[in-house]
Amino acid sequence: MSFLLEVKGLKKYFIQKKTGLSWLKGGRGDQDLYLRAVDNVNFEIMKGEALGLVGESGCGKTTTAKCIIRLIEPTEGQIIFKGEDIANLPKKEFKRVRKHMQYVFQDPVGSLNPRMNVKSLLAEPLRNFGISKDKDEIEEKVISLLKTVGLSEEHMNKLPRELSGGMKQRVGIARAIAANPEFLILDEPTASLDVSVGAKILNELVDLQRRLNMTYLMIAHDLSVIRYVCNRVAVMYLGKIVETGNVEDIFSDPLHPYTEALLSAVPIPDPNVKTKRIDLKGETPSPINLPKGCRLQNRCPYVFSACTSDEPELIEVKNRHCVACHLRTKS
């Protein structure tokens, strides 16, 4: 099997320097605290696959994605892109790789420079990655990019504030695919949009992937969106991946209690379909003060002795369906 991207043992710890008040956050006050946002994450994406990364807010989805394109420098771990470890490449060399991996940000408003019009926003990556220097050629490319995402020539001279939320998000996508990347990271591409507009973006993403044979890493908290676009899923909880597998396997037969609870909590837009809810009690522990053993132990309905002593590892139980839970792996 050849993977386009392999993430091995990725860690990102944010240090909270010791202060007189550290004891407030659960430390002793005389040592630095580590917020383990991403803690030993492993996954791989094959070419042409779309992997959905799901989990509740604060579980480290975005940090993982930003580490991959090194908008955040990882603390530890390997990021192997097309057979090359890019986690420690010097900035200058990284630019060569960066051309092939692009990022669509969650907030379409904040990620577009308000003083640049659509044309210059889209021309920037073309110039930056040395794809084109000729003015007319750039204009031509910008127009074709706009058409790819369902906008037209007339939007070229508009400023971001003159566009609707859906259009802004499409400009964000157009900018990301400008340099013909092989790998696209989509961070909640439809979370801020109305359903009728979001549907259009989702359909365009599915279509783009088919036409250009792109590889996606899509972050979403909405599981129905993942089901629509992706063919693989990774479920994250508190900085760890607890389950990965094909979309159909995970949605029809979730193995981890957390995945099960997450799926059962999604409200289905059909009053005749009632799901049996699996309720997680209590609250997510703080990523500074992690419990020993499984991170879900205080909320899991099936908790038993092994859960409080050993941390479960991600183990393959079926074909490319991995789970990190003592229930499934110890028996």
Binding site: E56, S57, S164, D194, V195, S196, V197, G198, A199, K200, L202, N203, H221, L223, S224, V225, R227, Y228, F251, A261, L262, L263, S264, A265, V266, P267, I268, P269, D270, P271, N272, V273, K274, T275, R277, D279, L280, G282, E283
Partner: protein, 324 residues
């Protein structure tokens, strides 16, 4: 008929008088809420859901103004009540929870004190009695260690907990009507499910009617008894929840239901082309006409459709079903 209704909103219009002209944000909307009912108001952003709820509570500030209509609550028209009498109803018989509860709570006041104040204002209890009741109400909505938590400030609560505190606070006086404006937006799905359960429980135990405002058709389907669909300041369809999702009549409702992906099965989704018209000088006819696939040329753009009852309790505002 009318004694069976808790709230009867008829032809309510709210306009915003801005520099560019008049924004007709609510245009003659009518709906009824029965006792013990969870009534959903769904629609996309800018459709007027929030303005509708604020109008009921008379919280519209200039340049907005309620220009016409009636809001009959338990037999009295809220819009005609003097301010002083209305204050006695708002917070006691009708209360509201907001989307961002942490910003709706006073950041400088302990939670217990904030809840106790409601009892002191509306029920005239003494300080210690009120605090006791505050602790009890937190317990009722499953805040762990309620005795300790009354001493906490809002920032010490997680978003989901803050929303629970807010519900406890708003249910403090056993209101007849609870207005919940996107109470779970921005929360995680697991927390969302818990909050919605709490609200259903409140309805079952105390018989409170709930006006639930949401953009999420899934939430509406799983929570509400009846649902009204809003589009650009109009209510285009009202029906019992099963009927609305099974046999939607209005082209907008149909399109909306086709645009959401599902978690339980693979479906094809399609978007709604075009844009919601500007509410400044909106089109004279149907406000969905420019996006509608079933538009009747020469009729829909020119004449505002009447709301007609197709079936018992199934109202639709569309020329396709006659009534013009």
């Amino acid at each position: 008929m009318s004694e069976n209704l808790l709230l009867n909103v008829t032809r309510l219009s709210t306009y915003f008088y801005v520099y560019e002209g008049i924004m007709r944000v609510l245009d003659e909307i009518s709906f009824q809420i029965r006792p013990r009912e969870i009534f959903g108001l769904v629609g996309e952003s800018g459709s007027g859901k929030t303005v509708a709820s604020l109008s009921i509570l008379r919280l519209i500030l200039p340049p907005g103004r309620i220009t016409s209509g009636e809001v009959i609550f338990e037999g009295t028209d809220l819009l005609k009540l003097p301010q002083k009498e209305f204050s006695r109803i708002r917070g006691k018989k009708i209360s509201m929870i907001f989307q961002q509860s942490r910003t709706a709570l006073n950041p400088f006041m302990k939670i217990g004190e904030q809840i106790a104040r409601i009892y002191r204002t509306h029920e005239g209890l003494s300080k210690s009695e009120a605090m006791e009741k505050a602790i009890y109400s937190l317990k009722r909505f499953r805040i762990p260690e309620a005795e300790k938590r009354v001493e906490s400030y809002p920032h010490e609560f997680s978003l989901g907990m803050a929303q629970r505190v807010m519900i406890a606070m708003m249910m403090a006086c056993n209101p007849r009507l609870l207005i919940a404006d996107e109470p779970t937006t921005g929360l995680d799905v697991t927390t969302q499910a818990q909050i919605l359960d709490l609200m259903k429980e409140a309805r079952d135990e105390m018989g409170t009617s709930i006006l639930l405002i949401t953009h999420d058709l899934g939430v509406a389907a799983q929570t509400c008894d009846r649902v009204a669909v809003m589009h650009a300041g109009h209510i285009v369809e009202i029906a019992d929840v099963e009927v609305l999702y099974e046999r939607p009549l209005h082209p907008y409702t149909q399109a909306l239901l086709r645009s959401i992906p599902r978690v339980d099965k693979k479906v094809r989704i399609s978007d709604i082309p075009g844009f919601v018209p500007s509410l400044l000088n909106p089109p004279r006819g149907c406000r969905f006409a420019n996006r509608c696939t079933k538009v009747i040329q020469g009729v829909c753009e020119k004449i505002k459709p009447k709301t007609i009852e197709i079936d018992r309790g199934h109202l639709v505002m569309c020329h396709l079903y006659g009534g013009s």
